[in-house]
Every structure is written in C-alpha cells, then in structure tokens.
Symmetry: C2
Subunit: 398 residues, 2 copies
C-alpha cells in the first residue's frame, strides 16, 4: 500500500491520535497531548507515515473550524457579556505582555529587528482550539474562568492577527495607514455585527427559523459556519474567529441543542487531524543544534510565564482563584502562532531553524499547559463550581 494513499493516512492519523489520546488520558493527562505526540511521531520527521499534504491541511482546517463552532454553540451572548470587561482586560494584557517579553528575550539571540518582531508576534495569541479542547475534556468548560478564557482567547487571536498584519506591512517596508484603518474598521464592524446585532435578531426570529428550516437546519448551520469563517478570513481575521461567531449566533436558535448533537460527531471526527497536523511540525532533529534547542526552551518559558502573568493581571479583579485559572487557561498556543511562523518563513524573514524553534515551542507549551490546566482547575473541585447546567456535556458517551 502506498504511504501516500489518502485513506491509509486518514486511518493511521485518526487511529494513532485516538489511541495515544486515550492512553495519556488514562494517565490523567488531557488527550490533546496524546494527539499532538501522535502527530510528532507519525509526522515527516520521525516515522514519515503522514505528511503535510493538501488534504491533511483540509481536514485540519475543518477540524479547528468545527471545534470553534461547537465552542460558539455552547456559548451564549449573555454569558459572554457577563465576563466582557475581564475578558477584554485578559485578552489585551495576555497578548501585550508576551509580545514585549518575546521581543526583549529575542535580543540576546542576535536576531535582526524584523525577525524579533515576528517571534514576538508568534507568542501573542492563545490557541482557542487547544484551550477549548482541554477545558471540554476535563469538564471545566462551564466555569466562569473558562468563559473568560474563551472570550479572551478569541480577543487575543484578533489582536495577534492585527499585529501580524502590521508586522508584515513593516517587513515589506510599507506601513500603509489606509490598509490598517480599513482592517480596523472591518474588524470592529464584524465583531459588532456578530456580537450585538446577530444574536438578538436571531433570538427574535427563532420560531420562524425553526419553521422555515425544518428538515435542513443542520445543513443550513454548516453552510452558515463555512460562510462566516470565510468572511472572517476575507477581512483578514482567522477563519476560526468566524466559525466561533457563527456558533455564538446560532446558539440563539431554539433547536440549537439538536444541532449540537449533530455537529458533535463531525467535530469529533475532524479535530484529531488538527492536533496531528500541529504535532507533525516538530522536527526533533533540529534540536541537535544547541542554539535551536536553547531558543525553543527559552521562548517556551517566556511564552508560558508572560502569558500567565499578563492574564492573571487582567483577571485579578475576579479574585485569586479565578485569576489563577484564567492565567493557566490562557497559556496554550497553536494555530495563530503557527500561521505567524509560516508567513515569516514564506516572507524570508526567518530561517528554518527559527521556524522549527517556534513550532516546537508551540507543542512544548501545549504539553506543559495541558498539565498546568488540569492541576490548577482540579483544585477548584472536579467539574465544579459555577457550572452552567444549560450546556450539554462535551464528551461522547454511550
């Protein structure tokens, strides 16, 4: 059988991810860690059984889009607006502190300014995808701190992508003020519409929507999810931000529980491919170079500490326990950091060593973060505290 056979790669990736995920989960570790490891082991640098091909990328993209969509479906605008102030503070501080820290720490590595800017930008955004999966898996997704983390992680994705646009402009020697203004306006209009206009409108039309879409609401929801993801991508935000917003809006429709039941198997099928894909970027070989190894560890430490500190500060007014949980919950990095590294490599401002270091840093951070989150949150009691009974459990059980 050819290694490049599509069904073979899908089989190997799905099976290994689920198997290693279950295995580490028995040891009390979030299964995301197992899935990331499965990706690293199967990936081009170790076994070479799966590669970064167009179809793997498609499955991974659908995976993270569906993951964020389910997160959005489980999020009600009322819940978000209850944590609005703190989430904004956490999002802004949680993105700024790592940027400044990353920029400062990169100085001794003797990177040129543009390279330093890209590395610092790659540290900014929390991975909404990984954060959501870890929290869902541990059963903490309905805590107040989890809701703050989710909202803040979406906000800092937006900030991270915004800064990325500026850095690319700077790297290309054209800090086009008009473009920046346009991006700002589009972002504000997009978020305003999907947070303030969409949900109440949909809520009011809920009965009509139920009647008209009878028999094809599931299909309609998938179409809306893809459309809003594309819209977000088109205006320069990430597709996942759009998928999350689509979920938030559709959560206002009356049938959203039966919709969640239908979307869940899809999300469960696709998400492992996202984590496999992230894991597959790790080139263990490049750590033979001491500079790469040192850079990876230093960046990871800085990224963890600075994100924790910035987010803790942002959530301080919520009390020590919640602030601590928010700090830990914000640590994971992922899709945005990888996108930043990819663009930097494509623009020729970083070499493959720095690229490898950034990607390995992402995986290293996530391994550490998964442990930290499990530890910090379980201090607050299993599945505990301020859980919101309105949301169904995220785990599939028969």
């Amino acid at each position: 059988m050819a290694k490049t056979d599509i069904i073979f790669q899908i089989f190997i990736a799905f099976t290994a991810a689920r198997l290693l995920g279950r295995l580490v989960s028995r040891l009390g570790v979030p299964s995301v860690v197992g899935e990331l490891l499965a990706g690293a082991i199967l990936g081009p640098y170790v076994l070479g059984l799966i590669e970064h091909s167009q179809f793997m990328d498609a499955l991974a993209q659908l995976g993270v889009i569906l993951l964020l969509f389910t997160a959005g479906l489980g999020t009600h605008v009322r819940q978000l607006s209850a944590v609005k102030g703190t989430a904004i503070a956490v999002g802004v501080l949680g993105a700024t502190v790592p940027f400044v820290a990353g920029f400062a720490v990169a100085i001794p590595f003797d990177y040129p300014l543009t390279e330093r800017l890209f590395v610092a930008t790659a540290l900014m955004a929390t991975s909404v995808g990984i954060t959501v999966r870890v929290l869902q898996e541990l059963g903490f997704q309905n805590r107040k701190s989890a809701r703050i983390v989710l909202a803040a992680a979406v906000i800092d994705d937006i900030i991270g992508l915004f800064v990325l646009t500026l850095v690319i402009g700077y790297a290309n020697g054209k800090g086009n003020v008009l473009e920046i203004l346009l991006l700002t306006l589009e972002t504000v209009a997009f978020l305003g519409f999907f947070l303030f206009v969409g949900p109440p409108a949909i809520n009011r039309m809920s009965a009509t929507i139920a009647r008209v879409s009878r028999g094809f609401f599931f299909e309609l929801a998938i179409v809306v999810m893809l459309a809003v993801a594309l819209l977000a991508q088109y205006i320069g935000l990430a597709a996942i931000v759009g998928a999350f917003m689509a979920g938030v809006v559709l959560a206002e429709v009356k049938q959203h529980h039966s919709l969640e039941e239908r979307v869940e198997p899809l999300a469960w099928f696709f998400t492992p491919f996202f984590f496999i894909s992230v894991g597959a970027y790790v080139d263990f070989g490049s750590f033979a170079k001491p500079t790469v190894l040192v850079a990876t560890i230093v960046f990871a430490l800085v990224a963890i500490v600075s994100k924790y500190a910035g987010s803790l500060l942002g959530a301080w007014r919520e009390g020590k326990r919640i602030a601590n949980e928010v700090g830990a919950g914000m640590i994971p990095r992922g899709e945005v950091g990888i996108v930043v590294a990819g663009i930097a490599l494509a623009e020729g401002v970083v070499d493959t060593d720095v690229y490898s270091a950034v990607l390995a840093m992402v995986v290293l951070i996530d391994l550490v973060a998964a442990f930290l989150i499990a530890r910090v949150y379980s201090r607050g009691g299993r599945r505990g505290g301020d859980a919101d009974a309105a949301s169904p459990p995220a785990q599939i059980t028969y």
Copy 2:
C-alpha cells in the same frame, strides 16, 4: 479570495450541492441529480470554481465510504441471506449482460480490442453509492427489492473489479494465472469472513463489546470502517466494498442504533463531495465532437437497457413487480466505472475522448436512472410495501 482556498471550495461545493439538491427534490427528482449537476456546473469545464484536487478527492472518498458504511449498518445479515439466491443471480447477470452488450456495441466504433474490453468493463458495475442514496432519499430502502439491489450491487462491484484486474493483466500482456488465483482466493476469504464468520461472532460478543467500548464505540467504529476499507483495497477490491462489510458486521452490535445516529451527520456532510466530484468530470465541451456525443448516448442507452434486462432476468423468480424494481434499481453507475475509465486512461489504452464519453455516460445514466427509480418504485406505493420498521429513517429531520 483565491479560488484555490480550501475552505472556499468546500463552502461552494457543499452549498451548491445542497441547494441544487433541494431544488430538484422540490420538483420530485432525487437530490442526487442536483448534486451531480452542481458538480458539472462548478467543475473545471464550466465555472472552474472547484477542481479535482487531492483534498476534494479525500472528501469524496470519505463520502462514498461513509455512505456505504451507513448502508451496511442498515443491513442485517439475516436480511441479506433471505435474498441471497436472487441477489447473486442479479449480480452475475446484471454484470455479464452489460459487459457483452458493451463489447458488441463498441465494435462499430472501430476501437481496438483492449479499448473495447475497457469500455465493456466500465459498463458492468452498478453504483452502490448512488443506488443507496436514491433509494434512501425516496424512502424505499427497506423494500425487499431494495435489499436485493443493495446486495447485488455489492456483488457486481466485486465482479466488475475482478474483471478489471483481468483486463489490466491482458492489456499489459501478462495474464498471470497465479495473480488471478490469488485475487480469487483473497476475495472469497474476505467475503466469507465478513459475511459468515464476522456477524455471528460479533453478535455473540455484543454485550462484551458494549461494556469494553463504553464511551468510545463511535471512534472504534470509525477505525474499524477505515481498516476494513483499506483491507478490501489492499486485496484488490474497492474500499467501498470493505466499508459496506464493516457496516454489516457492526450492525450486529447492540448499540448500532446510537452508532447510526452519530455516523449519519458525518455521512451527510461528506457524501455531497462524492457526487460533486463525479459530476465535475463531465466536459460539456467534448460533446462538440459528434463521435463523442454519439458514443456517450449509445453507451448510456446500452448500459441502461442491458443492466435493466440482465437484472430483471436475475430477479424474475421474485415476481414481476419486484423484478421490475430490481431492474430499475440496478441501473445507476458510478465509482467503479469511473475507476475503470481512469485506469484505462492511465494505462494509455483509451484517449481522452473515450474517457470523457465514459464519464459523461455515467452521469447521463444516473440522471435517467434517478427518474426511472422514482417512477418504478412509487408505483408500489409511497415508502410502502414490505418496509422493515427496525431500521431508522435515513432523512435528517428536526
């Protein structure tokens, strides 16, 4: 937005397929027809919005695998063995008559012998995928005739793939007796195991499986589906034959109804990509050549009439109504015919004109067949007759 953007293509393909599918469905035509048309219109030969890329192919393959898997899940070995004799007669006659007819009709077109053999082979196998979708959609999937069609269509896929192996051997000038013997043995062992050994064994262990796989039966089922599909592909059968067999075996597990509920949204998401993909092969432009146009129409007519006649004959003992329904139900062609044409093109034994004619023939046959099936089956009463209440409805309704 780049036309090659993955999410954009997925959005356009899914939306167009569902929209056109719904539209034609309102006109009383099976939505598969709309999905095939959507593929032809969006495809490289008309709008060029989607192309035959690796990820489209992956989604299409998963689509047809999941479709056959759900068909298998809805099929109980007891039901199959009740129609065994007729199904074998229909499968054999329904494959042989089109082969002979296709071979004879190709003579006036002045094709060389190898080309004639390939064209005749392409006419043999009924498309299990399209047949299942049309019957499910119209609500006829539980009739006795539908069960005969399903079993016979799987049998003639196996026959078709078997003959394909022989023809390829002939074309390469090596009719390796040993290889043929090996394929025969493997096929018999595979079918024997999955029809006679697997189901009763699983049935006996049903309670144990339920206990052990608690919480991850859905994932396990997906892994088994992919594994058996790969196994089938590995021994020279089609992946879809394996997916169907995996479904038949898992249908014996106690929780198979909750499994069906989970698999259904997956199948619904993926299958449109299969039909879009088939439709996208149609090059309307090549019909400007009169020979291609004539060949397409003649092949389609011969394929329809010969398959109908052969299958009618095979099912004759079941009485006129059922034989008539089986004849119509067997007409659709698809994946195997396309695979045959693709291999013939790759081996250099047919040119792109013949290739286009075969693919266009497949789509033309399916358009006609969808109408014919709707007409012939509805004479027997809507959703009627010998329906089996044990199987859940195939349509998603909220």
